[in-house]
Amino acid sequence: MTRYLPPIVLVLLALAPLWLKDPYLLNALITGGIFTIGAISLNLLLGYTGQLSLGHIAFFGIGAYASALTTLGFDVGLFGDIRIVHAGWHPFAGLLVAILVSGACGYVVGRLSFRVRGAYFVIVTICFAEVVRLVALNWIELTQGPLALTSIPQMKIGFPGLGEMTLRTKAQNYYLMLAVATLAYVVVARLVGSRFGRAMRGLKENEQLAMSVGVNATRTLTVAAAISAAIAGAAGSLYAHYFRIIDPDVFLFAYTVTMVIMVVSGGKGALAGPVIGGLIFGTLPVALRPYMAPEAQWIVYGAVLIAILFVMPRGIAPYLDDWFAGRAAARSSAPVAKPQLEGQS
């Protein structure tokens, strides 16, 4: 039954633009969806290896800047007379560069920081995000600093035999977001279901035991970080070409928190977790807007998050899983359900 759920949800989401004509709502879905892709990537690290990256927005932002700069082109001086001049490329090349650059950053950060675990790793990742933000703010020749990179071209996608399409409308951007989100979901699902995913789960549950059966902890975590960062970079690229303007505020800690909330409320370590969390916290601002000021909305987010975690400490998806499993078990063993209680009396 649950096997058919992801395709059904995908079809429902794909139908959304057909009846949802309000551009404001569609915009909210696209923005929420882009951050949900970030949350899917974060879930790979947090949910399956147990490592909390509180600097995850750095990979998202690096992807955004890499994609924007690849597309816009740049002309920067390095040491002395050496200058790097780059003429703008196709936006789709920007997306690919974003994936590669973010993935490489994830690899390097993982390589350097997985000597430490737990709280130390969390601190290293926060520092990394802050350093990248400061670079984006101060390397004005490259990034325009606080003046922002503007007029980023819209994403263009070429279809074999159909020619090239520039994604101008919200609906087109929505489908691009949905396609990338689906890809990210499938990649993560395949990965955690494979022997690499088993090595990750082993490390999360019992690192010593995993190492004793030959799991290379540093390598496994580093590969997970690189793939996670690459997916976050793809999300950043979508962000840059959709909003067409990015400034160093894209590296704000609050965005990492948004992704963490999506993962934790939906259920970390569950494939559906970040999707459910993303749908809730992506659409909540829209649902609340007619009723209260933005300041009051933050209070409601907090309340909703606390309520979810109070009732379902492991998140929504694992809670629903248990609930369905419990009902299935109750149905199959209904006549002999009693004996379980006898031990307690």
Partner: protein, 272 residues
């Protein structure tokens, strides 16, 4: 005995371990021969588990070295040492508690790649699927071997301690070791479970895996071992067959105290 049978597969060469001023192992020296079941015994705190942790790379010795099939293990990480063919079980946490028994063994089989890479996994290519079929087949065989077929789909954390130890052994065997280190495998097992476990140890050895055992259950150690090494206060005090160890005054003294050793000697004399 031929020279080949005598060749040491593992040499613990004058190893010492100090934690600050505390001496866990002062000077440990013994060989394990290929194909034998060797037990390491000694009272609590004698340094047995420390010795295990040194051999498997979880602890660095402050002096001496460990050689496995001729290779010096100094500075190798636990996962590298496992890949050389040296597997171990743990005293307490021997399983991944939240996974099923099958998934536990599959984690141990994560290196059985059948030539499939990370990309094969992401695109779910035929090579990856073939590898998965082979891994599941192997896992079934291993679970069958340790006698847990009826528990294959249960959460490992929900099994009894004895059964969890068996999962730990299956997990270690999944890495296809040439030598297996067992850290107090039968503690907490009842008599019939212990009997079964002894049969399992022998069948593992019969498939060519050398075994180093740390255990407190003396009847079990005496019955299953080819040779025994006794440790006290981080030092070797005796090395011999079960019969030699049973009669060794230093061993009796270590376990029961000086006067008991004297009494035992007197009783032996009376019997003779």
């Amino acid at each position: 005995m031929s020279a080949v049978a005598d060749a040491p597969i593992l040499s613990v060469d004058h190893v010492g371990v100090r934690f600050g001023g505390l001496v866990a192992i002062s000077d440990l020296h013994f060989d394990v021969r290929e194909g034998e079941i060797l037990s390491l015994i000694g009272p609590n705190g004698a340094g047995k588990t420390t010795a295990f942790n040194v051999v498997t790379g979880f602890l660095k010795p402050t002096q001496g070295e460990v050689r496995f099939r001729g290779a010096n293990l100094a500075g190798l990480s636990p996962n590298r040492i496992n890949r050389l063919g040296l597997a171990r079980t743990f005293q307490r946490t021997s399983v991944f508690p939240n996974d099923t028994v099958t998934d536990n063994v599959l984690i141990g089989l994560h290196r059985e790649d059948a030539g499939a890479s990370l990309l094969d996994a992401i695109f779910n290519l035929p090579r990856e699927r073939a590898g998965e079929v082979a891994r599941r087949e192997k896992a079934r065989g291993l679970i069958d071997w340790v006698g847990l077929s009826s528990r294959a789909n249960e959460r490992a954390g929900s099994l009894s301690y004895g059964e969890q130890r068996l999962v730990g052994v299956a997990l270690a065997l999944a890495t296809e070791p040439t030598m297996l280190l067992l850290d107090e495998p039968v503690s907490g097992m009842n008599a019939s479970e212990t009997q079964n476990f002894m049969r399992l140890i022998r069948s593992v050895r019969d498939r060519g895996v050398t075994i180093l055992l740390v255990e407190h259950d003396m009847p079990m150690v005496m019955a299953v071992s080819d040779r025994i090494v006794a440790l006290n206060h981080g030092k070797l005090i005796a090395d011999g067959t079960p019969d030699q160890i049973r009669a060794d005054p230093a061993v009796i003294e270590a376990y029961l105290g000086k006067s008991a050793a004297a009494r035992e000697a007197g009783r032996e004399a009376a019997h003779a």
